[in-house]
Symmetry: C2
Subunit: 358 residues, 2 copies
């Protein structure tokens, strides 16, 4: 089995490094092929990690006292040399690690990753992709907020990249892609999304995914498609709205089960099943946003992640590294560029034939 | 007490007129001041309604055989003379009713309402507003899909109109308005939303609402504000995503409570509380979208609404009529126009001082 090395920003997140190291322990048991480069304050990491037998001989600590704070502006963070986040990213750039994970400042992680890892040739902007629970399992949703707008071509790029993600994680040969819209009819939506639909319809087979068509918000949880594509503004609001709804229902249910003597008895008998239910809607299990489009795997864990959540994000980084997602995306994007350059002269000739209006 | 007359498209919706008439019965008990003009096929309505004692002397049937089908294009629907939907809307236009309700084709209802009722002077586009459950009760969210884009001024108009809605329904003197965005910091979001924020900050007191600032998707259910404002594309996707999440969690919970012998016993004991829980997340209770910005109250009920859901939408139409929402909005918009025209000469002079670029 191929050895996988993950660079870890051990100082990133609200409870770092404790939650990070405990998360590593959980993931290490599931992934004996993985080892870790830990960037952070040695005196904080070492005493803790020595008491975690699961991690014996699995890690190297690279000491740095500098760290990016959670409320630092990305523009300031990129000027901080030797932060645990920057060094971890550089390990991927320099070929010392297969991927990087951080629970730190999201904006800083994106800015630093873009700067150090650079974009894959042919990709203008990265997108943030994550798993989303559905009636049938999970789907990939992108962009969840790496950008606040997206043009048609970018929505197509997101589709290509998120499909590679889905292919690896779901082990599906031809993932199905849907464009998030306000209705499923072809006439619905703005010009950007309609143009993206036209390109996806035409090009789907070139990139080994199936284009389903437009989907609505309710289709995300239904599991209508494997990959949901939208712009970062809508995607971020959909994600956070969903989190809010799940929390609200959880609070309602808690209130209901504690509301009377009989309901408490009921909750007692149903406890095991209710725990399984809680486990199923546990957002920690789908923790881990991936910045797709970069020349390296960069995974963002929630800042408030505990060990279980952190391990889920780490599992993702390891699985994507095993699936060699970066080369898979590069291959598809190279294909796209070939199509574009082949098409370019034809388009020019056609354009010359069309009389220019205004 | 002021008598309220509601024009009812008795043929609109999947189970019309049965669900419509049963819904009327539920609402009539709660609103003794209300009576109804029923538009539709007399032979279908009359035998049914005669057996509903709650509606005795509360209604007039205006017969028509024409109705707008659920999948009719709005452009076709507006040319159908004498449809039950068109006639019901015209009753509001002609001052015979205080509001109209339909469970029929949404696009047709919006197109016909815009055409027959026309926009309030000073409003360019209507928005679709609806109640949304929160930890503290409910909030108003707009636009839920009347438009697919919105400029800054339109987001401000939506804020003014939806605040009047909130003032009446929540009986709050100064409702709090938030703009839905991808973060709460001032620098977040696109130019449209940032400009809207600037205008709202400046003008909030003129319109008797408080501007909270940017909110995130998770704030909707938290009940951070009374009024959530967004463009129709994002709002529609947020709404449908939320519906999908609620359905998914409901399915998970059902599965959990039926998964074992003990969980079934638990569900039996907790039945009453679980029913109350189900009732609380029941989307029927917040049924009823209102097209704000029209010269009349137009309420859309879900097409698949049963009697409880239909009655909720009808309650809303009656409450908004009692609160005289149309005149409340007109007053605020007239104020806005006064501000604009007062400002106009100043702006023109300033503009002349600025050298034109490009």
């Amino acid at each position: 089995m191929k050895n996988i090395i993950i660079a870890v920003d051990a100082m990133g997140g609200d409870n770092a490094p404790a939650n990070v190291l405990q998360g590593l322990a959980l993931s290490a048991v599931r992934h004996p092929e993985a080892s870790f480069l830990l960037y952070g304050t040695q005196s904080l990491i070492e005493p803790f990690i020595k008491n975690i037998p699961e991690l014996t001989n699995k890690y190297t600590i690279i000491h740095t006292d500098t760290m990016v704070s959670m409320d630092e502006k990305p523009s300031v963070a990129i000027r901080q040399k030797n932060s645990s986040m920057a060094l971890a990213i550089e390990a991927v750039r320099d070929g010392q690690a297969h991927g990087v994970i951080s629970g730190g400042n999201t904006g800083a992680l994106m800015a630093l990753s873009k700067l150090r890892l650079r974009m894959i040739a042919g990709i203008e902007r990265p997108c943030l992709a994550s798993l989303w629970p559905t009636l049938h399992g999970e789907c990939v949703v992108a962009d969840l907020g790496a950008n606040i707008t997206a043009c048609s071509e970018e929505l197509v790029d997101f589709s290509i990249m998120a499909s590679e993600y889905a292919r690896i994680i779901f082990d599906k040969k031809n993932p199905i892609v849907g464009l998030l819209n306000v209705g499923t009819e072809e006439m619905k939506g703005n010009e950007i999304i309609k143009n993206a639909a036209t390109i996806l319809t035409e090009k789907q087979s070139d990139y080994d995914f199936g284009y389903y068509g437009f989907i609505e918000g309710s289709d995300i949880c239904k599991g209508t498609v494997d990959v949901v594509i939208t712009d970062g503004f809508t995607g971020n609001i959909a994600l956070k709205t969903a989190e809010g709804v799940a929390h609200l229902i959880g609070q309602y249910l808690k209130g209901a089960l504690l509301s009377s003597f009989f309901s408490k008895i009921g909750a007692f008998f149903a406890k095991k099943s209710l725990m399984a239910f809680k486990d199923k809607i546990d957002p920690r299990k789908v923790n881990g946003g991936v910045f797709l489009g970069l020349n390296g795997i960069a995974v963002k864990s929630h800042g408030g992640a505990d060990d279980i959540a952190y391990a889920a994000a780490l599992d993702l980084a390891i699985d994507l590294a095993k699936g060699d997602i970066i080369n898979a995306i590069k291959e598809k994007i190279a294909q796209k560029q070939q199509h574009c350059s082949q098409k370019l002269p034809v388009t020019t000739i056609e354009n010359d034939d069309i009389p220019k209006t205004a």
